[in-house]
Amino acid sequence: MQTGILSYGVALPKYRIEAAEIWKIWKNISTSFFDMLSISERGVLGPEEDTLTLAVAAARTALERSGLVPEKIGAVFLGSSTSPYATKAAATVMVDALGLPSSALSTDIQCADKSGSTALWLAAGLIEAGLVEYALVVAADTLNRHTQPGMVLEYVASAGAVAFVLGKEGCIARLEGMATHAHDQNDYFRTEGERFIQPGAGFYGWVANWGLLDHVVPAGKALFEKTGLTPADFSKFAVPQKTGVRPLMTMGKLELDMMQVLPYVLTAQIGDCGAAGAMLSLAHILDFAEPGERVGVIDFGAGAGSDAWSLVCTDALAERRPENGLVIQLLEDKIMVDYATMLKYEQKLIQSPHRLSNFY
């Protein structure tokens, strides 16, 4: 393939809450699970943050790093399972907010936590076919706003956005191959009209990850078969990371080495960023990768499906490596809040409609 990643950008909410702060309110899980599941902190949305604001922030960084003029972008895809709109495209808001051309093919793409990965490959197909020259793809989610207080997912439900500019010229990492696997298997879901995500099979224990291995293993094996590569040909992998259990399950069943996977798992630092989760891990890897390194991505979306893909870093990565806005810097740039503030910011409190105007 000639298509690859020209640039990327990341946006994370600055506000964070410690799992222990949530536990103080609910006491609904043994605290021994925190270390076992690598649960520590998770993102809290700011009062005016949502999937779109995070997506636009990440996209701004990616576009700036690409050096492209906006008119060059021929497709704008937003991969998210928590669009602010149930009906209506959110990607069109991005087009306006970023000053992108109206001639760009713009749409939302939803496949749960792998929405961004799938959007990236759809855009790559358009570029590879010569239908567009460059595309902007954003993986963004706000699982925290869509998680009910008292549900154990609350300990990890987080938010974030990772944007990629794709094209053929000037890639820092070239896409190499992909495989996918999907069939209906219901774990996490929201039905029409619901705000909060339902767990189909609980939160911890083997059953909570029902569906993961049924998809990740065939997708991963298909990638190795299609490309003729083995796990040893990869330097690093970005994998599903709802909790620390999923990377271990993925790693074990696909026979990946622990040091190819575990240093790039960010669950303990930021929680489960949904569609941005594995992509955030990929961005973290790219922040420190070297030219020639082959990186694997294995993403998983509830419902369920998995995309497995490979990319190879080019010499351009060394020349255009970002110096600011690294994932590790964004993770450390944080303001800790308490449970009540989290509830207020994530709009989970019953509120007066006059809360900002009843000072008389």
Partner: protein, 110 residues
Amino acid sequence: MSTIKEVMMSLPSIFKPEKAKGWNRVILFDLAGQEPSKWTLTVENGVATVEEGATKTPKLTISGNSEYIVQMFTGEVPPMKLVNAKLLKMQGPMMDSIAFSGLWNIPKKG
């Protein structure tokens, strides 16, 4: 047998920096046993440094007897064997505990 100070001070020389790119952590060794002591290991930007005492807030705390740490880093006993036997305890995200064990060129004893 090496002393705990010798072992702790040797950590930067057996550290695998290529495995720790982007893995910045503070690890506290809170040790009892033959040589009770505290040591702070900082891994930052691919460099490992060690200070005596609890000098920073850790993300991962390793506790147990000092002689087990000596045995672990000199290759006398595999790290996971010590952890599984509950001779060493790691407190912090499991991801960090496992990743930590892969950061060292521990000599292999026949």
